[in-house]
């Protein structure tokens, strides 16, 4: 797959001297759903704002489908639909008017059929003549998505699309996003919800303190997620793992009272049954046991702490 967005050595320093982004390099592949994870203030929104033309970059270069975002801003921006994090709407406009306005602003000829389809897909059709001020928060969020989709973008940025949205609506939005991907749209979403990234993304990037600290296929991350850990608490302390158990790669704690065994839940055999019987054969008695799984959240937290 070729890149549709290419970010090279991008840095952003605000007037106050705060360095929001530091040497970002990022390639977004055509047609993928890319999730950008990161704690508050990590630089997610700044990165999106620069790509979309809302903020100026300090150093580096960004191209969208080969178009430089500064030199060739018309071609670059025409391809992008942006749904910002905050609910910025024209309170007194009707849904239909505000969505049609967006299409015109992006230089597209009128196309009521397309607007109708977008509104129907987002379950807004029966609200098309309502003033935005009368809508609920979840509906306003969908109006903003409709505005972004009104001009048939090839790239869609969703900045925290499901913040403050109830579970049912969130599922609905995921369906819309999947349908968009199926129609060839590239989607970049930022989120706090790891679950959302797991559910939606093809690739995941983690950003912290203005730097990208990890980019990986979700499948690769899930591989790590498949690993589980079995901790066995021993009745009495041992000095070393008996040679008969060497094949299990057990780890003995410093106090000699706990052994740890790593296994893959998705493997055909976990080896747990034979481990237990081999332990018994070696005369080691167990007082308690527990298992734990490293979640994407754990990976995320440890990455963010380490960076």
């Amino acid at each position: 797959m070729t890149s549709i967005i290419s970010v090279a050595n991008l840095s952003k320093t605000y007037g106050s001297g705060f360095k929001a982004l530091n040497g970002i390099n990022l390639e977004i592949k055509r047609g993928e759903i890319f999730a950008l994870l990161g704690p508050n203030g990590a630089g997610k929104t700044t990165l999106i704002s620069i790509i979309c033309g809302i903020a100026n970059l300090s150093e580096g270069r960004v191209t969208v489908d080969g178009h430089d975002i500064n030199r060739d801003y018309r071609a670059a921006r025409a391809m992008i639909g942006l749904v910002p994090q905050e609910l910025h709407t024209d309170a007194f406009e009707s849904v239909w008017a505000t969505v049609s306005f967006s299409r015109g602003l992006f230089g597209k000829p009128k196309n009521p059929a397309h607007i109708e389809k977008v509104l129907k897909d987002l379950s807004l059709w029966d609200k098309k003549d309502s003033k935005i001020v009368t809508l609920s928060g979840g509906m306003k969020r969908r109006v903003m998505i409709a505005k972004a989709l009104s001009h048939e973008p090839q790239i869609l940025f969703l900045d925290e699309p499901t913040a403050g949205v109830d579970v049912e609506l969130r599922k609905g939005m995921w369906e819309v996003v999947r349908a968009l991907q199926a129609s060839g749209v590239t989607i970049i979403l930022t989120t706090h919800y790891i679950e959302e990234a797991e559910e939606m993304a093809d690739r995941i990037g983690v950003i912290n303190k203005g730097e990208i600290i990890l980019i990986e296929d979700k499948a690769g991350l899930m591989q790590k997620l498949g690993k589980k850990e079995l901790k066995l608490h021993l009745q009495s302390k041992i000095d070393a793992i008996p040679d008969s158990l060497a094949a299990y790669n057990l780890e003995l704690s410093d106090d000699g009272r706990t052994v740890t065994y790593d296994y893959d839940t998705r493997g055909e055999r976990t080896g747990i049954t034979s481990l237990l019987s081999d332990l018994r054969a070696a005369g080691i008695r167990i007082s308690d046991l527990d298992t734990s799984q490293s979640s994407l959240e754990d990976i995320f937290v440890s990455l963010v702490r380490a960076s």
Partner: protein, 253 residues
């Protein structure tokens, strides 16, 4: 040139005008009518003719200018300030539009609205006093130029302002006094010589003088000078707008 975007912005702004018809059109017309009742009829009947025309007729161009100036600034400053305030400016900044197109949409709509308003006030004035326009084309030229220039000026204020107080400050503290002192209600010839000289530093004097000349061929300064000063102020505003967009001042951080 993204004409569709210019059209979208223009129509969006004009829709706001129709939606707020009462504030946009009716209230300036009512306040101007009050000026006619007070200055034209009540006080004006005790004032002698100015430059050969009755006082009521004399103040018509000044009153039209007063409304056009204040409304141009109010419309344009609010038009661009409001998206900044509610955050919808993100869409404008992320759209494939040039700065020129943004200005054309916003300033075009604000100027259109004040030109319509100026003509309505003129029509209202005709109900109170006899009206002769000796140079209708010049009258329209001054009207359009002033509306465009002060809409640009309002656009600049709207971008500069970071609160509703600031949005009001320049019109209230500078533009209204300059307009009242710029000969809306009198000829600066009526002033003592020293104040007359001071008045010549007031740019609004040139606008009103030129506009009044197109009605009655009465002018405080030559019409060429009026025209030149109006174009000069237009150029100053254009340079300021160009600088704002070039640097992203108060728009992009």
């Amino acid at each position: 040139m993204n004409f569709r975007a210019v059209r979208a912005i223009y129509l969006f702004e004009m829709a706001r005008t129709w939606r707020t018809l009462l504030q946009s059109i009716v209230s300036p017309v009512v306040s101007t009518s009050l000026y006619f009742v007070v200055f034209g009829a009540a006080i004006g009947s005790r004032i002698a003719e100015v430059g050969g025309v009755s006082y009521g007729t004399f103040i018509v161009p000044g009153l039209v200018m007063l409304s056009v100036l204040t409304q141009s600034i109010a419309n344009a400053s609010f038009g661009i300030y409001f998206p900044k305030f509610v955050g919808t400016i993100y869409e404008l900044l992320s759209a494939p539009v040039s700065y020129f197109e943004i200005v054309l949409g916003y300033v075009g709509a604000a100027a259109t609205k004040s030109i319509i308003l100026g003509l309505i006030i003129l029509a209202t004035a005709a109900l109170f006093v006899p009206l002769h326009i000796m140079h209708p084309w010049w009258m329209l030229t001054f009207l359009v130029l002033t509306a465009v220039t002060f809409s640009l000026f309002g656009f600049i204020i709207g971008i500069w302002a970071d609160g509703f107080e600031k949005l009001q400050m320049i019109p209230m503290l500078i533009v209204t006094p300059l307009t009242f002192l710029g000969g809306s209600f009198y000829s600066i010839d009526m002033l003592p010589p020293s104040w007359r000289t001071v008045s010549l530093f007031n740019p609004v004097v040139y606008l009103i003088s030129g506009f009044r000349w197109s009605f009655h061929e009465i002018a405080d300064v030559s019409v060429g000078l009026s025209f030149g000063m109006t174009l000069g102020f237009l150029a100053v505003c254009m340079v300021a707008v160009w600088w704002i967009f070039k640097t992203g001042y108060r728009l992009k951080n």
